[in-house]
């Protein structure tokens, strides 16, 4: 029987490979790590246009921290053609007396337009799309046009769109509560916070398949593994609902029924009811404000930066940076969550079903919290 564990991708030709991959479910494939994906990328040539809106470039930085495949492997050996990426490419926009000058080998504006017109590419969006002021999009411009125009053009001709990081998915810090948030009016690709009706695609009347890679920044594995699955047709673009949650996040990385808390390296302390009340200790971080029980990510298993560490292991409360509505839902970051409304999509049932030997106090506290969060959750969704 062919299983993902006993398959040698490297001994196969392209046809056999696709057949074998086809026999394995999408989630199983996405769950695979490292070298198998290397092979997966090797057999197909795919163009990627990566555009930057209102962002901090943290997700591109994160991409550079990828391993197995790393970014250079992906591009050089694995036939992924990064046609346009503002932080990496050699070209820049050049205008002489108002007109784009030269050719696509030197001029990034010409390159971008040519690549968009050619079509047949995956569009990766990093950063929110400015809609303000007053729907003009002029709060973010480059190459003599608004990012909103660039996004519209690039999105219209894309095969599919991957929004990377909290800004591109849900607006992120740009859409956090403030006095001016309505004026700046930053939008995610398919959502504004939890609201799909305010996604920039809806605003522009464009319909395209979208996958959201949440996280602040997005984990490089989440980005590259998802791209690999799409490239191989393991994710059917006309049937995304089966592998995504209601916020369009891949379930395999952002599971609905499991939270970070379940696999937290400090979980043993929680089960014993041992809580840190000051920083730089070893125990459970709940009382220091950890939002791990409300965060649907695989951070605790996958971990970060070559799997050397992750937030709670390093003594930092989880700030729930991959849930829609970050930064408001997880804040205040260093305050126990009972004092604060938390967010949508949570499932505390598992958290409450702690195994035998769990501290009764922990269970009771969580049961109470669950009710509180569910109520607040509804409020957030109505908003």
């Amino acid at each position: 029987m062919t299983t993902i564990e006993n398959t040698d991708f490297f001994s196969m030709d392209r046809r056999t490979f696709l057949k074998v991959v086809g026999a394995i479910g999408a989630s199983a494939f996405l769950g695979v790590h490292h070298t198998d994906i290397t092979k997966a990328l090797e057999i197909s040539k795919t163009k990627i246009i990566w555009i930057h809106g209102a962002e901090c470039t943290g997700c591109s930085e994160s991409l550079l921290d990828a391993g197995n495949p790393d970014i250079v492997q992906a591009i050089q050996k694995l036939n992924v053609d990064v046609v346009y990426h503002e932080t990496l490419l050699a070209q820049q926009g050049i205008f002489v007396d108002g007109k784009p000058a030269g050719t696509s080998e030197l001029n990034s504006e010409i390159l971008l337009d040519e690549a968009i017109e050619e079509g047949d590419y995956i569009l990766v969006v990093e950063g929110a799309v400015a809609n303000g002021p007053n729907g003009t999009g002029k709060y973010c411009m480059y190459g003599e046009r608004t990012f909103k125009e660039i996004f519209k053009k690039a999105a219209s001709n894309a095969t599919f769109i991957m929004a990377v990081g909290m800004c591109a998915t849900y607006g992120g810090i740009n859409a956090a509560d403030s006095e001016i948030v309505d004026m700046t009016d930053f939008r995610g690709v398919a959502f504004q916070r939890v609201d799909p009706s305010k996604g920039m695609l809806t605003e522009l009347g464009i319909e395209k398949p979208v996958i959201n890679i949440a996280g602040c920044p997005a984990h490089p594995d989440w980005i590259l593994l998802t791209l690999a699955a799409v490239i191989l047709g393991k994710i059917q673009l006309n049937d995304l609902d089966s592998i995504l949650d209601k916020y369009k996040r891949p379930l395999v990385f952002f599971p609905e029924d499991i939270t970070l808390h379940e696999n937290c390296p400090r979980r043993g302390y929680y089960d014993k009811g041992i809580f840190d009340t000051e920083f730089s200790g070893d125990a459970c971080l709940w009382k220091l404000g950890c939002k791990g029980p409300y965060t649907h990510s695989d951070c605790a298993l996958r971990r970060w930066n070559g799997s050397v560490n992750m937030c709670t292991q390093a003594g930092s409360p989880c700030i729930s940076c991959c849930e829609p509505g970050f930064f408001d839902n997880g804040a205040p970051f260093y305050q126990e969550a009972e004092d604060k409304a938390i967010f949508s999509g949570l499932n505390m049932d598992n958290a409450a079903k702690i195994g035998i030997g769990a501290a009764a106090v922990g269970v009771a506290a969580h049961a109470a919290r669950r009710i509180l969060f569910d109520n607040n959750n509804e409020k957030e969704e109505e908003k």
């Binding site: 470039t57 943290g58 994160s62 591009i75 990064v82 820049q92 920044p217 390093a314």
Partner: protein, 597 residues
Amino acid sequence: MTRVVVDPLTRIEGHLRLSTEVNENGVITDAQSSGMLFRGFERILVNRDPRDAARITQRVCGVCPTSHAMASGNALDDLFGIADQIPKDALVARNIIQGLNMIASHATHIYVLWLPDIVNPAYRDVLATIGETGNALWKELLYRFAPISYRIDGVSIPPGKAYVNAIKEKKRLQEAIAIIAGKMPHQMSSILGGVTYRPNVADIGKLASYYYEVMDFVDSSTLGVDHGTWLHNTFQASSPQNAVKFVVEHLQELVDKSLLSNDFSHSAGWGDVELLAAFGCELIGETLLGLPASLKLDRTGGYDSNSSVGFLTYGVYYDVENGDGYDPLEFGKTGFQKAAFITNSLEHQKFDHRNVTEEISHSFYTGEDNLHPFDGVTEPVIDADEINYSGNDQSKYSWMKAPRYKGVPCEVGPLARMIAMEEPLTMGLIKSFTDNGYSAANTFTRMVARVQEMLIISEQLRKWITSDLDPNGRFSVPADLNMAKDSQGIGLWEAPRGALGHWVKTGSDSKITNYQMVVPTTWNSSPRDKNGIPGPIEQALIGTKVSAVENLLGIDNSNPTGIYHAARSYDPCIACAVHTIDLTKENGRNKRVFDIV
């Protein structure tokens, strides 16, 4: 007169537009630098729990998030009144996190963002004019520094060896940070009161191993000699003259050996630094070494002799020799990288943050002008018709404000820090340049200062990791939210690209009422001020020749390498620079600027 606009300037963080006028001699005669994004960061911070600022402000910039976390942490330590109690080992851990990020950021800038400009096809054509040596050199440059997805004349060029290895090292450095800080970018460890993690002996061992791997990269790529030898003869040279003498003699040896064989490989002794120092710089390469050609980077990005541009640094890294605690108001007075304001004639003055003001006459804001960050009352333009980036010296044209120190525009970054610490090689080079009629600050000196700082910090880092960090020490002190009631805090620090200041104020509920950041690229990429004085990058562009090697092969406005070199040498970070901008909530109390001496 031709209008040559680079927009976007890629291979930087964020969206920057450089608009220039080029005359018939190919010389840039006017320049405007425009930040192209408004996010409203500081408005987002108002009314929040101040402790969250160390996490939120990192999202200003994913390239140097640690610097924002540190500046914010300092401001919070001060706000809560506990800066004098921060345990020594927490300060060491913060130094390690920052030191690692400084090296990672510099390496990324040098190899991934800046060096791809050296393999611009214009240099192939220039180098071809000196025959076999030029062709061999061009091949070596491509082999080392070509970026990804690179094509010349339709031919794909594989990414360069140094480029690829630098990305690997950068990745490793991020892993090293993650060992004590959870993850990168947006590290989780440095917080109000210290750090969240107590590193154990195994962590220290791992950090040391990462350190040695990075130094292996330095010795096998960046430098042609062992880094210890290099630092001993430059950073620890007995005089600036001797530091320059060492470099020139070292290069002379290489040149003598290689000009016949045309072997410019690393095994022939040519580190990346040696290649750039000999062939990138007119003064060293052509004048001192007698080479037939150079890329003349020292002829780009300089200031006019009448320029008023000064240099500014707030100082960085805690002085851990002093044990627990630090004084946020005296920050940068001790330690190995100190605060200073240095005038255009290189006179050192004591830094006093009260001399910092921001102007908005050419920025897309309305309201009162020329205020200390703490009193900023600035509102973004909301009428879309007023947002016009093709402005001129009479109009508003950028989302960056114009920070000034005593009214003077200032260059910030590695060069300013190296001048402030009177680093021998930097000072020796500056003297050679000024003696020969060049600008002290130019593309070449900025890049040398960046490399030199990377090496100097790596030595310091070894000490912090292997001898200062005590796994049995304390790593945080507790603080209650009430301690931030009606308070204020100042956080001074240095990001890789220059001076970074955070100022925070809180109300009676301990929530933030005002948060201000004045960041490096706002200094460097500043627009004009109310007196019409251009910012440092604008001034560095004016007078630079637009195309390669001082228009050696004619004027090519469609490939304005002079603009790329000059602007990128500052390592611009636009998301930082346009993080912008607060409306001060006047609460009737504490309307004062910090009174520090």
